[in-house]
Every structure is written in C-alpha cells, then in structure tokens.
Subunit: 200 residues, 2 copies
DNA sequence: GGCTTGACTACACGATCGTGTAGTAGTTTG
DNA sequence: CAAACTACTACACGATCGTGTAGTCAAGCC
C-alpha cells in the first residue's frame, strides 16, 4: 500500500501533494505552483491533468472521501465507538483527514456529505448499542463533531498537554481522556432538567 | 454596547471589519482592500493605522481575546459547565469566536494562548466540582476542544439537523444534545479498562 | 514511414496581492 | 500666524496568483 513516490504516476503525485498542501495551508494558502513543485512537475501539468484549481480541489475531495471510506472499511474489525478513531493516526489517513476538515471549513459539499454520513453511522450505532437519547439525531451530530474536535485542535491540545498527540503515546493519552469524558457523567439527569426549565 | 457603525472611529471599524472577514474567509482569503471596503475607508488607511497585514492580525488577536474575556466576565453568573457556552451565540461574541478559531487554525500564538487558558479554567472547574479523572489535564483539554467543536462544525451540524444551530432554537437543541453526551455514560469503566489493555 | 495522441514544459497574459510614496485637509501647538 | 502633527486618499511598485498558448517528446496506430 505504501509505495515510494517514484512509483506513482505524475497525476497521483500532484493529487497527493495537493491534499497535503491544501490540508496544511488551506485552499487559498497553497498555490498551483507550490503543489507542482511539491509533486516535482511543472505547474502547467497540474492544469493539464485537472483543468483548474477548483477542479483539482473537487478531485481531491472525491479521492479523499473514497480513500477514507476504503481505509475505514479495512479497519472495521473494532465496531465500538473508538473503532473509527485509529483512522486519525493512520499514516495514510492523517493527511486525508486533515484535508477533509479543511475542506469542510471552506464549505466543500463533498466534505460536508462525509460528515453527514458519519452522523448517520453514529446514529445507527446508538440504536444498535441500546443508547436512547431524547434527541437521537442531535446526539449523533454532537458526537460526530466531538470525534473531529481533538483532531482539529491537535496543535492546541498538544500544547496543553506538553505532548504531541499525533504520536502514538500522545494519541493514546488524549484517547483515554476522551474515554473518560464518555464514562464520567458530568451532570445528573436532574441538573439537565433544571437547565432545560431555565432556558425556556 | 451596540453602537451604529458611524459612531465608531475609522480604526475601530477597520478592526471590526478585519475580524469579520478574517473569521469568515480566513487570513489569506481576506485582502486588505476587502477589509478597507468593508470598513468604508481607503486601503492606505488600513496600513496607516496598523502598519501591515500581519500587524493588523495581531491587533485583531489582542482585541478579540480581551473582548472575549470581558464579555465572558459579564456573563459569569452561571458558573456551571454550560455557563461559557452562551458566548457562542452572543451577538458580539459570535464573530469574535469565529475569528479566534480561524486564528487558532492558522497558528496564532495569542489564540492558542486563549485555548490554554480555557483548559486551565476547565481544569480548575473539575477540581472544584469534585470530578476526578485519572488524567485531569487530558480530560480538561478534551473538554475544551469539545466545547469548540460544535462551533467549528456549525454548518455541518446544522445541515445534519436540518436546523440552523446559530439561531436560539437550534442552539438550544444542540446544547441539550451535548448535555446528554455528558449525562449518558457511553462506556462502562470495565470497557475502558479492557481497551486500555488492548492498546498496550 | 507518417500521424495522431497524450504527457509534459516554457512562457506570457491580466488580475490581484501587500506594500511603498506622495500629497491633501484639518486640527493642534508653539 | 506658522509649523507640526494626524487622519486620510490616490497612485504606482514588484511579486505572485490562476490561467492561457505554443511547442517538445515519446508511444501507439494506420
């Protein structure tokens, strides 16, 4: 699965470079010339293969989505909530995830669709695991957002912990901290009901 | 507190416009000319008052941080976990929060410092409320990230719910869903211990 | 062999970017 | 009153952006 860069076609190298740079610097922050240089080709070739920057972005969206689902399928021996989380550390998936989140924040339809599919999956998961929140859809959406949050703020969380959470040790630590969030009830049902009254 | 735009000095209008546009489009996505037009001044005046785009960004960082702390102080009659959340919907705080999150993702030191202060606050809160996770710092960092997550993915969450969560009704809904996440234990302590063994 | 086709490069274009410079109008200060 | 200062605009600069055009080169097909 992991091939040296020489084995990839120029088109694939351009796409991989685009996903990496778009993910790191954002869409506006990565120029076609940067991407071409990263891929070791001329900037004209980027245009030749993808037509325009926007079309390149859409191609990256499609590829990232497809690839994430594919990698996810390979890892679904664990069917619990944490089963999807190793994705974030997967050496191939890491830049993909980074790109997708960036793409979401820039309003990509494909990336947003991936989020919605994640919400669907979490929703089904709550059903099959006998979790019955009052607002199942809302609950699933909140969980989906939470799942991405540690990834989005990885730099900030790493700084807070004094430990890089993209390393196995660091990711293990924040992963277990997240487990505790889902284990320790912060509020009693009574407290929640009281708040609900106040807000009305 | 809410003054018409005419009452603000040009400097303040530039700063407010910069925070709004930087927050919406990112730092690279908002040009000085855009900001100047939004503030109703010439682009040269932006440079006159702030020196450079980077200096403008730092000024926005400082102002947004100071203002958020100030607004937060005004609202701290509620001292519970949700006490800080109404910030996200506060009409003045909304663009500030949006800007700060964007600034974080672009690697701003000031914005990251604000995150770290938030982690400190949550950490103290767990102590005073008798919550004792095995990794208190990690737990606080996870909670801080979670608190921002719904805000970061507000577009995606809104789409998942079919309801704009920046409106009072929608925010109430996702807020209560988050409450349920903190109320329903997803995992038993036993399950967590089993996972911990597997990961080692 | 000639001819098409696709991968690929070099280069030039207009637009837009952040920045620099020069100058005007109004107020303050000595 | 004159000098100085501040807020502000107009305009030009070099760099960089996405894009467009022309052409080279090798492989496959007739």
């Amino acid at each position: 699965m992991e091939r040296p860069a020489d084995d990839l076609t120029a088109r694939a190298r351009i796409r991989d470079a685009a996903i990496r740079l778009f993910g790191e610097r954002g869409i506006e922050g990565a120029s076609i010339r940067d991407i071409a240089a990263e891929a070791g080709v001329s900037s004209g070739l980027v245009r030749h293969h993808f037509g325009s920057k926007e079309a390149l972005r859409e191609a990256c969206d499609r590829y990232a989505k497809e690839r994430m689902l594919q990698i996810g399928a390979e890892l679904t021996q664990d069917h619990d909530l944490t089963g999807l989380d190793p994705l974030a550390l997967h050496p191939v998936a890491f830049p993909l995830q980074l790109y997708i989140v960036r793409s979401m924040m820039d309003g990509s339809e494909t990336a947003t669709a991936l989020f919605l599919e994640g919400v669907d999956a979490v929703e089904e998961w709550t059903t099959s695991f006998g979790i019955n929140p009052k607002d199942r859809r809302g609950y699933a959406a909140a969980l989906a957002a939470i799942k991405l949050s540690v990834f989005v703020f990885r730099d900030q969380v790493s700084k807070a912990l004094g430990e890089d959470i993209t390393t196995p040790a660091g990711y293990n630590r924040i992963g277990q901290a997240l487990m505790e969030v889902f284990t320790i009830p912060l509020l009693t049902q009574e407290q929640v009901d009281n708040m609900r009254k106040q807000e009305k």
